[in-house]
């Protein structure tokens, strides 16, 4: 509960004036408010929920049931039990369904919070799990045929131009040292930029007062790309995360990051 109140206080509205913003920075210094969300995520992991009243402790994130340390850094990866390549977000939804008996039409209905909301359970869990990989080398699995196919698909989508503006991810992210207005654009085809960018998500967005996940980042870039709404857990989402993670492989996980 205390965590929730802190979050409420931190989640000052995005339209708050600069004065409030400065006050907030004075109070927080360079501390990343995501630390509260990490704690919350850990609490969710150990909380009995759903019809089965189970915790998520038996969830296999790829390194064996219950192993959380370093697991994030190896996503997306193939899981034999679903015969699919999954990102961490869809894997968590899978565990909520199989272990806790929770209906995915409910747990995946609103994966990302709206501005002014509390963060969601999924956002908190992903933040904690990313912190469990802090300092770990980014090493997405590419041994399985389906994992390599996912990378190839991601690359094609990255360059796929469509929509009224003819944009693809590449329009904004295939060159180094470029920016849009004042926002620096990572070159996601380049190892160094991809590692810095990929390794820093999930991230606390100061302008939104919320932690955002990579899945959220993608659907927001598609909005700027003038494309329709990206479906949570869709192939396009997982393929692009695979493309970025493999380009970032060898870099270090620094998440949760702190963004404007």
């Amino acid at each position: 509960m205390i965590t929730r109140w802190c979050l409420l206080w931190l989640a000052f509205p995005a339209w708050a004036d600069e004065g409030v913003f400065d006050q907030y920075r004075d109070l927080m210094g360079d501390d990343n408010p995501a630390i509260f969300v990490i704690d919350e995520g850990e609490e969710f992991w150990y909380q009995s929920q759903g019809p089965s009243g189970a915790t998520l402790e038996a969830c296999d994130l790829g390194l064996g049931a219950g192993v959380t340390r370093g697991a994030y850094a190896q996503f997306p990866r193939y899981f034999a039990d679903t015969d699919r390549v999954m990102d961490i977000e869809t894997r968590l939804i899978h565990c909520m369904e199989t272990l806790q008996g929770r209906d995915r039409t409910v747990t995946a209905a609103k994966p990302y919070s709206l501005r002014g909301d509390f963060g969601t359970e999924l956002e908190a869990l992903v933040t904690w799990l990313a912190a469990e990989s802090e300092g770990v080398v980014i090493a997405p699995e590419q041994g399985h045929l389906k994992e390599r196919a996912m990378y190839a698909l991601g690359e094609e989508i990255f360059f796929y131009r469509a929509g009224p503006h003819d944009f693809s991810c590449a329009t904004c992210h295939e060159q180094s040292d470029k920016r849009i207005r004042l926002q620096q654009l990572p070159n996601l085809t380049d190892h160094h930029d991809a590692a810095d960018a990929y390794g820093s998500w999930p991230a606390y967005r100061m302008s939104q007062g919320l932690v955002r996940t990579m899945g959220w980042r993608l659907q927001d870039c598609f909005r700027q790309q003038r494309w329709p709404g990206l479906t949570f857990g869709s192939e396009v989402s997982i393929a692009l995360q695979t493309y970025m993670a493999v380009n970032a492989a060898g870099g270090i996980m620094t998440a949760p990051g702190l963004k404007r």
Binding site: L153, Y160, R161
Partner: protein, 201 residues
Amino acid sequence: MKTTLWKMTLLLGIGIAPTAVSEDLAAVIQASFSDRGQATLLRLEQDPLQQHCSQPRDQPVDDEIAMALRQQRLDAVVFPADGDFLGDWQRGATVAASGRGLQFNDDPSIANGGNCYACHQLAPSEVAYGTLGPSLTQYGLRGQSDAMLRYTWTKLWDTHAFNLCSHMPRFGAQKILDEQQLKDVMAFLLDPNSSVNQPTE
């Protein structure tokens, strides 16, 4: 389906074998999105230009197709009906500064912006400019000859007529901006009084 048709028309027109554009890819993409506001699934279907300009890692493109496409774009440019290229530079400044329009969260009843500052430096007084495109500060020094007016109009209408696979949007051809907005942006670039053409420090 539309994509395939487009592709076939183009290929029949110049008589060469189809390129390997995967229909699977289009299907996977369609299945991963849903209509949201004005941004419907129709937007995911590529026209021949978009299809041609989606080669991963900028692989060299086929010259024949490229030439045919560029000519098509050039032929389709619509010049102002009244022959007058220049509107009001101050209104043009507003169009250039606005980044709204055509995103699923944008209200379609409000005019779109040109978002020029996202990619270009323009008025030297505006420091929040992007660098995906070249600086256009002092663009007006190039003068207002007929050739210059037609070049700039064409560039704004459909940049691919000159530079196939350019990263700049097709403001006229894709109806992002209307004719009056284009004229106003033209004036913003070319009017000697425009803030674009004021001396830099």
